[in-house]
């Protein structure tokens, strides 16, 4: 089944199935990458498309250049070392490309 992308992202760096790591970085300001996911390893679940950068929009700028948005899937046991549920549980979260690096 084709997963919705909304807009094409031909220049993207990652594809569905790629292993990625969320940057472990704590810059000040408005960020859409929750702290709990920073530094964690996951797999690209879907490419959502290209969107104005919310980190710029938040301060009244135009959001350019736009950024590619991905949905990344993480094992819960990777995200929370003390996770109480089974190994098979996932958490999926939207991450902008500039927060991702190849794992």
């Amino acid at each position: 089944m084709k997963a919705s992308a909304y807009t094409d992202a031909p220049a993207r760096r990652f594809d569905v199935g790629d292993r990625v790591r969320v940057k472990r970085s704590f810059p000040p300001g408005h960020r859409r990458t929750p702290h709990y996911i920073r530094g964690k390893h996951g797999v690209v679940e879907r490419v959502c498309g290209v969107f104005p950068n919310p980190e710029e929009l938040a301060y009244g700028f135009d959001g350019e250049p736009k950024r590619v948005l991905y949905r990344v899937r993480f094992k819960q046991t990777e995200v929370w070392p003390d996770y109480a549920g089974p190994e098979r549980d996932w958490i999926e979260i939207e991450i902008y490309e500039h927060w991702l690096e190849k794992a």
Binding site: K2, S4, R32, P34, C48, A58, W90, E92
Partner: protein, 210 residues
């Protein structure tokens, strides 16, 4: 109308406290003070604010049940909904405006549940106003790290051999769960099916029962 300034991402500090517990946060106080000032200066009235909120409920009623009932009854529609939620809703005569919708399907192997840990992003154009618990810090913090315990508090017990998939709606997508159609609903009309599809089941904290 996916971006209500009152609970958008722009004031992360506003979410240091629950909406339903404890003293108001700095931003709630600021927002109330602003409203009082605007009223005192005669710019807007309390009645106008109340009416606008009421209008919002009318503009965006809970329309999710109809969509999901149709998806249960029509396999081709269900497939389109899972491929592109926004386009499928448009075809069903439902304009989701700015909301880009991802529909996620419950199966015997997978149970989905939705949260926005940064604030309270919610598919308003489809489901209307979010419930208070969805915006509470308690739900937002806990459902990502102990989803099974939170679901149990909603009366939903997920067996250990079923995967729990939590979706953090933290950026530009909005989510709706497509629950499993319960046994015993064979031959039901879409209207009757819609009657058992609750808002909470579309967020994934409960499952519909016949």
């Amino acid at each position: 109308m996916s971006h209500d300034p009152h609970d958008d991402h722009h004031h992360p500090k506003a979410h240091g406290r629950d909406f339903d517990e404890g003293p108001p946060s700095e931003y709630e106080i600021m927002s109330r003070a602003m409203q009082e000032l605007l009223e005192a200066k005669g710019v807007i009235s309390a009645e106008q604010i109340r009416r606008r909120m009421e209008q919002f409920e009318q503009d965006f009623p809970h329309r999710g049940a109809k969509v999901i009932a149709h998806a249960w009854a029509d396999a081709a529609f269900r497939r389109r909904l899972l491929e592109d939620g926004k386009a499928a809703c448009a075809q069903f005569g439902l304009d989701l405006e700015a909301d880009r919708l991802i529909a996620v399907e419950n199966t015997p192997q997978v149970h989905n549940v939705i949260v926005c840990t940064l604030c309270s992003c919610y598919p308003r154009a489809l489901l209307g106003m979010p419930p208070t618990w969805y915006k509470s810090e308690n739900y937002r913090k806990r459902v990502v790290r102990e989803p099974r315990a939170v679901l149990r508090e909603f009366g939903t017990v997920i067996p250990d051999d079923v995967t729990v998939r939590v979706h953090d709606s933290n950026a530009d997508m909005r989510y709706v769960v497509v629950p499993m159609r319960p046994a015993g609903t064979e031959g039901w009309s879409e209207e009757k099916l819609a009657g058992i599809i609750t808002r909470d089941s579309l967020v994934g904290v409960t499952v519909p029962k016949a």
